[in-house]
């Protein structure tokens, strides 16, 4: 049977550590190697950080939902918010050759995850991330 863990949190950066704690252990329990556990944790954290910063303009009292599900051969993460929609043209828009402090998060997410799918919902936004075990 698949495992499912849903986290409902306010859009407050002080909660990121707790989410990482849960994601790290889930990944480890799902059989990912240590380096992959760190990477998955990073990707989910970057996705949440983007929701806080861009969908909610750093307002800390909005709501975010993160649903984590075990697949037969990996993990799926679905993030939902009710904030500003993602402009697809801005995702991974900058080149990694330039040395500037911003624009790194979406690159990190895409490099780590096997599936990255931004989707508008009637009442908000969804981001679906999938990582498979033993696939680099």
């Amino acid at each position: 049977m698949g495992l499912s863990l849903k986290l409902v949190l306010s859009s407050d950066p002080r909660l990121l550590g707790a989410v990482r704690g849960a994601v790290r252990e889930l990944a480890s329990g799902a059989g990912f190697a240590e380096e992959d556990c760190r990477a998955i944790t990073l990707a989910v954290d970057e996705a949440l950080t983007n929701i806080i910063r861009h969908a909610y303009d750093n307002r800390p009292d909005e709501s975010v939902e993160l649903t984590c599900r075990s697949l037969e051969n990996g993990l799926e993460f679905i993030l939902r918010d009710r904030g500003r929609p993602v402009d697809p043209a801005k995702v991974c828009a900058r080149s990694l050759e330039a040395v500037t402090p911003g624009g790194l998060g979406t690159h990190i997410i895409r490099q780590i995850m096997d599936q990255v799918c931004y989707e508008p919902l009637p009442d908000g936004n969804q981001l679906r991330l999938v990582k498979y075990v033993n696939k680099s």
């Binding site: 950066p13 550590g17 990477a39 500037t100 402090p101």
Partner: protein, 108 residues
Amino acid sequence: MQTSLRRSGNIVIVDVVGDIDLHNSPRLRKTLLQTLQEAQRVVVNLEQVRYIDSSGIASLVEGLKESQSLKSRFILFGLSKAAREVLRLTRLINVFEVYETEKQALDA
């Protein structure tokens, strides 16, 4: 995340401990930029960094840029696995001056 400073002459070593994320990277940024005002060489110890995300990396990039405009030096050493992996993913590892040990960073 906790930062603490150790001074020796014109050099300041910044020891960073813990997780660097959106919550505390503004504090890291401020510490780095302030320290750069006061020292010819700022050496950042990342050995005890258990976690760092893109906002933490952005703070390091800002430190680097500030050091370039001040014509001072900004050096990283003791990259934890977490720090090394994120710097690789963002292809920034070669942009920084990076050493293994504190001694190498001070002697460089």
